[in-house]
């Protein structure tokens, strides 16, 4: 249905934009093992994006590339968190930790979707995100418990990303309409908070006191970062419309 397609588009855009961000680390990571690890995570996210976008596009007669390369900014449905710039490694880890905690619970619920395709994509994705969760958790512990500098940066990273947490759990008519086919975002919040609290407790971190930013990504209102990201991502495809690669 149109609703399912629109929902898949949201999940696909989140993953696509994140993959684009993470891809930037490849060849620039703090150690080779992280070039590999962040590359893996980027690849996983890109894979999820392709599955969700292909499914969404099937409702509109569009393929994944038409959706990724030939939509304009207001047609994207990503949440602002995914659009945030990488910052330093700690900021990237903060974003990853939040994303993985969110996506893990989201996809786990989604495996129960009455929509067989969404359930199938989620079932594959949740296994991979389980690793992302572990990866980011380990780094949160390391950075928070490493040196004075790494701890300062880890705290700053979370401060930077926290304003964009709220949007992930916002409800809107679509998810209500979807019922058992989708996941109602607010239903994930309590467990997200609990899981984050466990790690923050071990890392001796506190939830940042920062106001929640107004989101709007699901309605096509994006952070100012998305336009620049799309300019780069789409440049070649748009220069040769209709070409195949």
């Amino acid at each position: 249905s149109q609703d399912v397609a629109e929902y898949a588009l949201r999940l696909g855009d989140d993953a696509l934009i994140l993959a684009q961000r993470l891809g930037h680390w490849i060849s620039r990571a703090p150690e080779l093992e992280e070039d590999v690890a962040l590359g893996n995570i980027a690849l996983d996210q890109l894979g999820h994006a392709r599955s969700f976008l292909t499914y969404a596009g099937s409702a509109w007669g569009k393929n994944e590339d038409e959706l990724a390369y030939f939509r304009r900014e207001p047609e994207f449905r990503s949440a602002h968190l995914f659009e945030q710039p990488n910052g330093d490694f700690a900021a990237t880890i903060a974003r990853q930790f939040i994303v993985a905690n969110y996506q893990y619970r989201l996809y786990r619920e989604l495996t129960q979707s009455t929509d067989a395709m969404l359930a199938a994509i989620a079932a594959k994705a949740v296994k991979e995100v389980d690793y992302h969760l572990d990866h980011s958790t380990q780094w949160v512990l390391r950075l928070a418990g490493g040196t004075e500098e790494s701890r300062r940066r880890m705290i700053a990273g979370f401060k930077l990303m926290w304003p964009y947490v709220g949007e992930l759990f916002e409800d809107d008519p679509l998810t209500t309409r979807l019922g058992e086919a989708g996941v109602v975002p607010p239903s994930l919040r309590a467990e997200f908070d609990r899981a984050v609290a466990v790690v923050f407790d071990e890392a001796d971190l506190e939830i940042p006191v920062s106001a929640t930013a107004t989101g709007g990504g699901r309605r096509g209102h994006h952070s100012e970062h998305l336009g620049l990201l799309l300019a780069e991502m789409q440049v070649l495809a748009r220069e040769f419309p209709g070409a195949s690669w």
Partner: protein, 313 residues
């Protein structure tokens, strides 16, 4: 002397030297130089391709390219490990690279202005690398040979992907076709020069062959590569920018036109288009990441101390 005899015996029967075996210092030094240079090439070689990850023109190509560049980081890791078995640490090798004291393959000092370069690098640069590396799978030093087996398997996969990129472009719009031919033109001579200077100007080759590290001469490998390219370029429907290529019936080898070795030496001496950029990018990634590596060690040390306490208690 017993060590030398044993070493000579192993080499003579074309068997493998392992890390604990005695080996001549010159053999060790030569291997460290070669393996670390190879590792550095994998790492620096990530950059020209990483340049297009963000702009890859389809999601499938983006995914393949990401995986490829990531594989190169993996190859770097295997190779640094192999070199470490010879008693040099990865930190030492990295420091030498970042300080501009270590070499890496000159080919990565050329830029990648277009998407077709992703095809040309895969097809030609990885193709040349494979010609060089397949014989290295039988290198006399065990850890190196085994690392090369893994590397070669992935490289031939990469080469096929590069070929596919070019094939798609060659069969695409006229502009895409021009883009493909332009990339082939630019990478042709540099990829031939990847095999190193002509045999009569390659001082280290002989010893390397005597030690069963190197198996074929630079010119032999280059000729084999030219032949491969000359065949495959027909499938692409493109051409190589060298009219002198032909199969020499007398030598049973492929000949090619003259190469501009002055340019090769210029690039080798640091005066290529991207030498400064490549080194700077590696240096800054390494330096920017120092605090992360320090944090990881500090955390590991704390954890170890805590665990030791627990065990003691």
């Amino acid at each position: 002397a017993a060590g030398q005899e044993n070493f000579d015996r192993i080499i003579a029967k074309d068997s493998r030297i392992e890390p604990r075996d005695w080996m001549p210092n010159a053999y060790r030094r030569s291997l460290v130089r070669q393996i670390s240079q190879h590792a550095h090439s994998e790492i620096i070689g990530m950059q020209p391709e990483a340049n297009w990850i963000s702009r890859a023109p389809s999601l499938k190509r983006k995914s393949i390219l990401m995986a490829k560049v990531q594989d190169e980081a993996g190859h770097g890791l295997y190779l640094y490990s192999a070199a470490e078995t010879l008693g040099t640490t990865r930190d030492e090798m990295t420091d030498a690279l970042v300080a501009g004291k270590a070499r890496y393959s000159s080919i990565f000092n050329y830029p990648t202005p277009t998407w077709a370069d992703m095809g040309a690098i895969g097809w030609m640069v990885d193709g040349a690398a494979i010609c060089n590396q397949v014989p290295l799978c039988r290198a006399s030093y065990g850890p190196y040979g085994r690392a090369m087996v893994r590397v070669c398997k992935e490289e031939s996969f990469h080469q096929r992907q590069g070929f596919e990129i070019l094939l798609e472009l060659a069969n695409g719009t006229p502009e895409q076709r021009v883009m493909a031919q332009d990339a082939v033109n630019r990478w042709y001579a540099p990829s031939l020069m990847m095999f190193g200077p002509p045999d009569d100007d390659s001082p280290n080759s002989k010893q390397s062959m005597a030690w069963n590290i190197k198996r074929f001469s630079n010119d032999e490998l280059r000729s084999r590569f030219v032949g491969m390219m000359a065949e495959q370029v027909k499938v692409l429907g493109l051409s190589l920018p060298d009219e002198a290529i032909h199969f020499n019936e007398d030598t049973k080898k492929w000949d090619h036109g003259p190469l501009d070795w002055d340019e090769f030496k210029e690039v080798l001496a640091g005066r290529g288009p991207c030498n400064a950029q490549r080194l700077e990018r590696r240096r800054s990634a390494h330096e920017d990441g120092a605090w992360v590596r320090e944090a990881a060690s500090a955390y590991a040390a704390k954890q170890a101390a805590t665990n030791a306490q627990k065990v003691a208690a």
